[in-house]
Structures are given as structure tokens and as C-alpha cells.
Symmetry: C2
Subunit: 227 residues, 2 copies
Amino acid sequence: MRHAAVLFSGGIDSTTALYWARGRFDRVSALSFDYGQRHRVELKLARRLTSALRIPHHFIDVDLAQIGGSALTDPGIDLPPENVGTPDSGPPATYVPFRNGILLSLAAAWGEVHGARDLVCGFDVIDSPEYPDTREVFVRAMQEAVNQGTGAAMGGIPFALHAPFVKMNKADILRLGLELGADYSFSISCYAGAETPCGACSACLIRGRAWRELGENDHLVRRLKEE
Amino acid sequence: MRHAAVLFSGGIDSTTALYWARGRFDRVSALSFDYGQRHRVELKLARRLTSALRIPHHFIDVDLAQIGGSALTDPGIDLPPENVGTPDSGPPATYVPFRNGILLSLAAAWGEVHGARDLVCGFDVIDSPEYPDTREVFVRAMQEAVNQGTGAAMGGIPFALHAPFVKMNKADILRLGLELGADYSFSISCYAGAETPCGACSACLIRGRAWRELGENDHLVRRLKEE
């Protein structure tokens, strides 16, 4: 019996990851984090999907505003219109320092207690190469750290960290999700924090490009127009 | 200018680590975590020392009782009189799942924001070999994860994780601390949660043995008797 915990923010990537995991593991749980993000509305919408799919959904609070240093957790730092970081110039203002290391550590702890040894992340590196903590090499390093720092190192079942989309762009992730029957009508990516996406932040721009590449209207926007 | 952040719980090991770091780095900050531990009193006492030493002291809240699975964060799980885990039988009830992975991740995030690239832990493996997340191999794996998941991977200054006492027993750590002039009179190790140590939990027993090996009375107990 393999139990997977999916790190689920409710965006395109992690929504697809949730459907991907459902087809692969005997049991799937969704883990979401209230880390003080300005777009906390994603949690409310995420719950709509797991509730419809009857997937157990656990919420963990970890206030990263205590640490700061990011436009996503500090209202005093403006959201840039596009991510300006590059692999050479360092991470952009929307990078939350070591966020995915912190969230994966909490997910591993949760998984150790609840018997979930497969941790699934929807990391999309192709469209957002400026974030260090979504890359394959980081995921492999975290897997090693988790396996050395838990009961896995003492004869327990080892953890496997999965980031199945690290070599795919967002249009391909979306295409895969649609093939898997994913419902994106409650999936939000926007950093600004409202239930209606701003259309201008880097997350909205990347998402918009992916839908256009598929020649479809964003299912979230479609739902909002119909309501 | 090297700025070190010391993970400081206020016990013997991390108190010694604080003095050790003061002699090695240009600037030292103490980081303490309220993680829902039943012995949260350690934080109040820890502040007494940093205040006397005029070391900047930062407190980060991360509620690991949300995750549970440990006698240190769940009042429903009894404290064992001695740690019964062994490297073969898995971690004991006082193990907090991946706690040190979570705390080091938060420390790395804090360090990235505040320019502290040296992270110092007082991990004592010799006296407590039953905890997976204090071992040298875990520290090395975490260092790699931190350097792959932060701006260090994009041309930033790399992190160095230091665990200088992993090959020393507690009596030797204590001896070193006393040579460095460490004040242990506000250092508490007890898991039970009172300001007067219980003398019976595994942390008290290990600490008691170390002081006896040195032929000294525990400075904490001495202070309490004098008050």
C-alpha cells in the first residue's frame, strides 16, 4: 500500500500533480500550507477541488512572514510585473527563501507520522527557471536529507520525492492534466490575492501563455464569467 | 565578515555551540524555535543567557504539534523514562519527526534573508545515537539541500552547516564549554517542562551523567539551590 502526499497549492502544476498521483498510488492525501502568502485565497479554492474529489486534505500553518525577504509574504515588497531573476542574477522578489525546503521538510514529517512515504510536487522549472528550490537537483538533495534525518535512516521505509513535471513546460503540464480529466475551474495561480486573477503578475502571465498555447480559455476565467 | 546563526535551544550542547561560535565568527545570532515543545520553558531561560551576552536572539514559531507523532509535542504520548530507541529499532518516543530538518530549513531561510551563511548546531550524537536527525551524514545532506534550494545555487554565497560536537560525548562538550567560560546556570535540558529539572527524563539522565563525569554539580541545580 503506497500512500502519497501531494504538496497542493491549487495552481495548475500541483492540481495536475494531484491527478497524476491518483493514478499511481493506492492512497493520496493533499497537503496545503498557509505560510503567510498574500494569495492565501488559493487555499480556499484548493479545498473546493479536494472536497469534490473526496481526497483527504490537510492544512499546515507555518508563518514565513516571520522570516520575510519575499514579495509573497511581505506586503511592503512590491510584486514585480514579471519575474526578473535569472539563473545568473539570483532569485526574483517572488522567491520565498528556501520555501520548498521548509514545506518539503514539513511534508516529510507529516508523511513519517501518517505513513506517506511518497511526496509529490508539481514543480515546473521550464517556465520558472529563476527559482532554485524547484529544480531536480534540489529535489534529489532533499530526498537524501529526508532519508538521512528520519526513521528511514534506521531501517524505516525510505521516502521517494517525485517531481514528475520538471522537464515539462506549463502547456504540456496542462495538456496532461486535461487528459487526466483535471478540473482547473477552481485552480488559481495569481499572486495578487483576489479570487479573480489580476492577469498581470508573473504567475498569471505564465498561466495565460499556457492556455493560449492550447487554444483554450482558462477554465477558471470561464467559470468566473459564467457565475 | 562571517555571520553565524546558532540553533539555540538553551541546553548544554547548543549553549556550548554559542560560545564556540563566538570565538570563530565575526558576528553571531542565536535562533530559537517555539515548536510546541512541552519544555517551552527552555526558551525563557535561553533568553536570559543571550541577554547577558548581548547576542541578538530571534525566535521563530513553527507549531509541530500540528504534525504530532512525538512525546515532546503531544501531551497524550508519555515521556519514556529513558530513550528506548536504538539505531536498529527506530527512533524513540522523544524523537520529533524530522524536527532538525524543519528547523535547519527555517534557519537557512532566515540566514538567507539576514546574511548568515554559517549555521551552527550543537548536535550530540554520541550520547543520543537514537536520533537520526543529529548525525553528521544528515548534516552534510542538509547542507547540500540548502545550497541547492537557495540563492547559493545561483551564484550566491554558499551555506556551511557546522555540527562541531558530533564526535564528542556530553562530558567533553561540557568540559569544552567550561574552558570557553560558558554559563550553564540558565541552561536547561529537561523534557518535562518545569523550570526545575525532573531528574528522571532521558535528557536529565544524560546531563546528570556528564556533570558527574566532570566531578561537578550541575550549575543549573546549584543556582536553583542558591535562589
